[in-house]
């Protein structure tokens, strides 16, 4: 039956979540007991009669990364997708870069449209030392949970270049704010494509970018 598959392996966070929904005090249960609870919870959703025929087939229960699902204590009926999103970000957030994308963070530590940002990316997963760096003014931020991305614009050799980076990609090694933007009153600065003004005439920033690039190498 299903039980042979589940019990004996640690339940995934999803299973514990299902168990939590049925039994609010599951935090104190043992792994086996919560697995049994998960089994009960699952049986609401699965047709056990068809499963008995497939009991010999192994199925994979992924190893949980988080002992307990990342549910806040005040959430009585947590939204599963929100919890999964939160766990995915926590998994990808190795150097605390999620603090850049929190809307309510302190203005100094938050990434805003108009900031000058330096990003260092690995070119491929195979060689961690082969990196490319790009500096630019952040003209847009798309806050989409794990798919959060931002666009940096710079003028390189008299040609405007825009690069869109996925914030939680493992290939993005470093995101640093070189200079906070001032006087930008919009969330999306697409007008800078036609009317750059003095935004891209910052020669001091080239030096800052170069020093930021070499700082991590040392």
């Amino acid at each position: 039956m299903l039980s042979r598959g589940i019990i004996g392996k640690r339940s995934s966070s999803l299973c514990s979540l299902l168990a939590c929904r049925n039994n609010p005090s599951s935090g104190q249960r043992t792994a086996a007991a919560s697995a049994a609870g998960a089994l009960l919870a699952r049986s609401h959703f699965l047709h056990t009669s068809s499963r008995t025929a497939n009991s010999s087939q192994p199925f994979i229960v992924p190893e949980p990364q988080f002992e307990q699902p990342l549910i806040k204590p005040e959430e009585k009926r947590p939204n599963i997708m929100k919890v999964i999103e939160r766990e995915a970000i926590a998994r990808a957030d190795v150097d605390g870069r999620s603090n850049l994308f929190i809307r309510r963070a302190a203005p100094k530590s938050r990434l805003c449209a108009g900031d000058v940002v330096f990003v260092e990316t690995q070119n491929s997963m195979s060689d961690p030392l082969a990196t490319t760096s790009f500096t630019g003014v952040c003209i847009a931020i798309y806050r989409r949970g794990i798919d959060t991305s931002f666009i940096l614009r710079n003028v390189v050799q008299k040609v405007g270049v825009e690069m869109r980076f996925m914030a939680y990609s493992p290939l993005v090694k470093r995101i640093e704010i070189l200079q906070k933007g001032e006087g930008f009153r919009r969330a999306k600065l697409f007008y800078l494509r036609e009317n750059p003004g003095k935004t891209f005439q910052l020669k001091a920033l080239k030096k800052m970018a170069q020093s930021a690039a070499s700082a991590k190498k040392n």
Binding site: T121, S149, K158, V159, E162, M163, F165, S169
Partner: protein
Amino acid sequence: MIQLKSRLNVIDNSGAIVAECIKVLRNAKWAEVGDEIVVSVKKARPISDKTAASQSAAKIRKGDVRRAVIVRTKKEIRRPDGRYVRFDDNACVLLNNQQQPLGSRILGLVSAELRFKNWVKVVSLAPRVV
């Protein structure tokens, strides 16, 4: 996304300034960075006496039909790691029939996509690759 009638800046020193795409050499409507296209030169620099006398320099006039490789597009290009790159204009480099650049220098930056599509000579001539 360059197609028939798209105008591109020519960024080598062959003498052409603006070229218009007349054929995408792929079984597709649009061409991206690293694709070869056939262009008609719409604007060219007047041929100097030095170029007229020289045997090896390419003599490009307005109305010439040549092949070209696209090096920059205004439409964003997706890189495999999820990055997107977009330039402010569409640009190309003229080629001869052996897929070698006609000019001897490239003036301006090119996209790194060319490296993956085996345009080695173009990438090596470019002053900056993004």
